[in-house]
């Protein structure tokens, strides 16, 4: 007991403190559950924070209808096993307009099926706080964001007018229609996430592990053909390759990497020798520098 907390213990304790602050001070909190590895860690921390009680808030998944099938299976299994209250929201307007990443491009698709859908779901639930799994090491504008990040009544982030955030004393007060996005994993790095998954034996979607999967090379990325909605372009052919994913999103927008890592130690090892950042596999961040900030100002997580 004399030795100081280890790095992971410190991160875990900080995150649990944040989760409890929200539960204690907001009327209607919700946890965004995106099914990825960061969400898996956040879910695990929520189970721990309130144990032996269940987390005192519902979970929300914004389904763009283009997620990998394995993600949806995993999501439903976790909700069943952990016994949490899951709300799945789909932007029905977008579905009726037939919005999809192939015909409308990543920008329009993400805006309508993800950002607008999220705003719809938050408004419908009248949520005053929403947890997100974003980390400051992911991207430059994330590195600037507070742990408790204020949003006005149209869900917009004002990067130039953020509230001061002193010590662990969070200003959780909001007016009518306003809300706070809360990021309990702000100070975790990608390595910390994997290390914690390994240490706590946290279940994750099998797509993170290498396996032979049908992929097509498009725009310099390996795109997995997850269903028959993906039409091949001239010259493209489906190949079976040993691949895995470093991040998960809509399958047509998420690049796979060739890999032999089929277990956690293998993944950590690959990550340590990686020369590119994890968001490189995401088409939506590449459009231009500052694109993440722009999306966040519009209400994206």
């Amino acid at each position: 007991m004399n030795k100081p907390l280890s790095h992971l213990e410190r991160l875990e304790a900080e995150s649990i403190h944040i989760l409890r602050e929200v539960a204690a001070t907001f009327q209607r909190p919700v946890m965004l559950y995106s099914v990825g590895k960061d969400s898996s860690v956040m879910l695990h921390l929520a189970m721990k924070a309130f144990y032996p009680a269940k987390p005192p808030f519902p979970f929300l998944h914004v389904d763009t209808t283009w997620k990998f099938r394995e993600m949806i299976e995993f999501r439903d299994r976790m909700a069943r096993e952990r016994g949490f209250d899951l709300d799945v929201h789909i932007n029905q307007d977008g579905v009726e307009q037939g919005i999809n990443p192939f015909d409308h491009g990543s920008n329009t698709h993400t805006h309508i099926m993800k950002t607008v859908a999220l705003r719809q779901a938050l408004d419908a639930g009248r949520y005053d706080a929403a947890f997100g799994g974003a980390r400051r090491d992911e991207e430059k504008s994330r590195a600037k964001e507070r742990i408790f990040s204020f949003r006005n009544s149209s869900h917009a982030w004002d990067p130039k007018g953020q509230r001061p955030e002193m010590w662990k004393i969070y200003n959780t007060r909001v007016g009518q229609g306003e809300s706070i996005r809360v990021f309990p994993l702000s100070n975790w790095t990608e390595l910390d996430i994997w290390q914690y998954i390994l240490a706590e034996e946290i279940p994750i979607v099998p797509l993170y592990f290498a396996k032979k999967r049908p992929v097509v090379e498009r725009d310099g990325m390996l795109i997995m053909v997850d269903d028959d909605r993906m039409k091949l372009q001239p010259g493209e052919k489906i190949e079976e390759k040993m691949v895995r994913f470093r991040t998960l999103g809509c399958y047509p927008l998420t690049g796979a990497i060739e890999s032999e890592a089929d277990d956690l130690p293998g993944i950590v090892r690959e990550m340590l020798i990686a020369r590119t950042s994890e968001r490189q596999g995401r088409l939506i961040d590449r459009d231009e520098a500052g694109s993440m900030e722009k999306k966040k100002r519009e209400g994206y997580f």
Partner: protein, 646 residues
Amino acid sequence: MRATAISEATTNDAAGDAAATVADYLAKQESKSFLRFLTCGSVDDGKSTLIGRLLYDTKLIFEDQLAALERDSRKHGTTGEDIDFALLVDGLEAEREQGITIDVAYRFFATDKRKFIVADTPGHEQYTRNMATGASTADLAIVLIDARQGILTQTRRHSFIASLLGIRHIVLAVNKIDLVDFSQERFEAIRRDYEIFAASLGFRSITAIPLSARYGDNVTQPSANMPWYDGPSLLGLLETVNVDDDLAGKPFRFPVQFVSRPHLNFRGFQGQVASGRVAVGDTVAVAKSGVTTRIKRIVTMAPDGTDLDLDQARDGQSVTFVLADEVDCSRGDMLVDPQAAPVIADRFDARLVWFAERALVAGRQYILRTETDQTAAAIAVLQNRIDISKLEEVKADTLALNDVGTVTIAAQRPIAFDPYRANRATGAFILIDRISNQTVAAGMITAQASGSAGQHRLFDVTQKDRAAIKHQKPAILWFTGLSGAGKSTIANTLERRLHGLGLHTYVLDGANTRQGLNRGLGFDAASRREEVQRIAHVAKLMADAGLVVMASFISPLREERQIARDIAGDNAFLEIFVDADLEDCMQRDPKGFYKLALEGELKHFTGVNEPYEAPDSADVHLRVKGRTPEELAAEIEAALKAKGLL
């Protein structure tokens, strides 16, 4: 470090045991120590560039990020053909366009020895609150200075705010040294200026390093351009500096965040231990009511979702306590050590940093929030504003954006607190505007307020007045060292010299205090601690009277000397380590104590049957071997001059 990871992972690969290699690597990650620091200083002193350089040199920039950086450098860069490292950290569009930092950015990096979180904070005065945000969770500040400019107003402002927020370690990074031809003279002049300025800010260490963030000199590697500099590189220092605040040794404090009641048979108090430690069976008190009970269980969850009870909990851990009795305790209250309870008061004095465009209005109601407690509160008295350029208290009617001042707060109901100096977690609060919900101020509690409304100072003549009439600066010089090291002899010599200069002085030692003030105190640990506390209080009163006070006591434990420093409060406090070999002391044995101790006649004798913990970073380190009391006293005199106290 990423580079190390590669070599570890690949060289061991031949053995084909990736899992073992990774496990090994991860174990090493877990055992690394940890440091949170910030960079601050004036605009254009190169803060963001320095962090970009640290990330780049520790190989934490990925290829795609580097490619983006090269693109951005051509578009927005301020460095001609070279890579503009600042663009790595200035993450907002407005920042990249204007080439300035607006808000704090948090960055993460690690070396073989340590993990780091660095807060890159803005230099412009208008963004001071963002600098304070970064400083509130840091243990060390890198204050950047442009070698061509020297100390600027913002250097002073940021140093003062860092000190106010409890940062005790400063690295003075004298940047752009390449632009003054790597001049040692220039570097030393800036260092001297800064040390004089910062003498009253209570920093435990100030380390000056000449460097060039743009070209990397002395950032991670020693520079070939400055053979005259033999100190550490910046990274070398960050990896080794000891900022341990010993939260575990402080009294137990547990602000209750959330009471969990999943069913009738379970009532758990959830929160994060702010300081100290507690074990199952220990008695704890509910701070506000004083009601005591015992810790029955410390509950956490095992990875598989079942009970994992702990025997003990310590500072930093988030836990759930089950108490032995049904006591009244809810969010906002604290579970505490009943032997060392916090203050419960509805009127207290505090330092405020004002964050809002709209100025402070005395008497107006704000929402006061501590880590978990909340109450309505008004600023009853605005005692003064601090003029940051001169570090002087001036009369004021209000505090405007970015001002710092001293206030008396009147809360609607009592809160539990410790002075901020003693505990950063339980001595801090924020003020929130009731209408706009903006965070308008950060507060650091100094003490419970005495007297009635409007009366903030009991006596008209102040310490400053008393010192001014003597033409001197009050100070407390705390001599520590083994028995027989020569503490009192050196203090005596120093007093003679200072007296000769016309200074008003006094020496406190065992001989003149054990006869009266400390009569009846023994030599066991508890008595010695009591002795140190009493002496520190007396020294503080004498300093308040305007004197230069010398206290000469073995004070063998770091903790005791820290207590003395804490009691001294805002007074200049110099720890003087009289460093002599134990053998030499035994040989001299002026009072015959070593002989008695070695014969078993004296228990609790430092050096024989009790340890002496040498200071890590004394303000003056006197190596006495082969030197006369005159020489040693002269060394202290020089240190007083350097700190602007003489």
